[in-house]
Symmetry: C2
Subunit: 165 residues, 2 copies
DNA sequence: GAATTTACGTCAGCCTTGTTGACATTCCAA
DNA sequence: TTGGAATGTCAACAAGGCTGACGTAAATTC
């Protein structure tokens, strides 16, 4: 009755199972962004600002072009967001010492404060989900997500992982 | 060395682990939407059209207000998308028989054709990820995602699950 | 040393997709 | 009959993507 290959059930690969996974991703991503979005809607920023702040926090001193790659947006789009964050004193931009064409990005204390607020909210939901599901589920969660990424993004993700380990 | 509670390791709840999960969600969601987006960019539609088509396919005869709730958008926003899909002959809207105020939505053959194209692409990636990660990982994946949803969305998700089981 | 390429900033315009507010219609229900 | 619910639609606006073009400074290459 159950399809098998090498003794392993393949029931989890039915279209029905895949569809459930697709819908789970859709609804879960909504939850994933809900809490930071709520905070940001109060102040003048949006999800794009959150992403920039997150990755500058994550990789202090990163360059503009590196951030463009990570976020997958054009420089014009990124610049609009970065411009407001710099003007508002949340991000500091420093001309590169070894290569003067590059701009290195850092969070100011004010920027760090907002980052903490946002990531606290997002981590709280993540923590609750992790706790509810348990460590084994979390390992599987990460495995599937990683397998779902485009290869280039998987590389970017793994470089970030190492850096923060 | 390892924190323990009830004999179970809590290492998976460190801020570092949570941050990795957050970044995994971000990069994976990009991959998740990449293939349908590529198809849609060719024709005249966007991600919003995909979502509408998906859930109309999923729940044939669903009403407009139900779709609004599922998608989490306003009726004006939904109507704009629905309008083009109806005008282009991908979705059919039928006045309710028992309650004449309601409009029930269905995919036309043309709509079903596009739905199949889009979901084939999305399922292909999902299938590859599932296969790479294995059945145990998939179970964990689904558990964590479900725990991450807002309660209302979890209900919506579970109603869909039952219907399709 | 001159020419080219790279990294970045910026202006302008366009598109999608979300929002709010207002108003009309139709129909169910008390 | 009257209020509320479900829907459609018009208008205006905002966020955040995009492309294209142009400018500047700095590095690299010839």
């Amino acid at each position: 009755m159950v399809e098998r290959a090498g003794g392993e059930s393949l029931l989890f690969l039915t279209d029905e199972q895949l569809r459930k996974g697709i819908e789970a991703m859709f609804f879960a991503y909504r939850g994933f962004t809900a809490d930071p979005d709520r905070i940001l809607s109060g102040i003048d920023y949006g999800r794009a600002h959150h992403r920039a702040i997150h990755f500058v926090h994550r990789s202090p001193g990163t360059t503009v072009s590196n951030l463009m790659t990570i976020l997958g947006v054009t420089k014009q789009s990124l610049n609009r967001v970065l411009r407001t964050l710099i003007d508002d004193g949340l991000i500091r931009s420093e001309k590169g010492l070894v290569d003067g064409r590059e701009r290195h990005l850092f969070l100011t204390p004010k920027g760090q404060e907002l980052e903490r607020q946002l990531s606290d909210a997002q981590r709280a939901r993540m923590r609750a989900a992790y706790r509810a599901a348990g460590p084994a589920a979390v390992a599987g969660f990460r495995q599937v997500l990683e397998a779902m990424m485009d290869p280039e993004m998987r590389n970017a993700y793994n470089r970030l992982k190492e850096g923060g380990a």
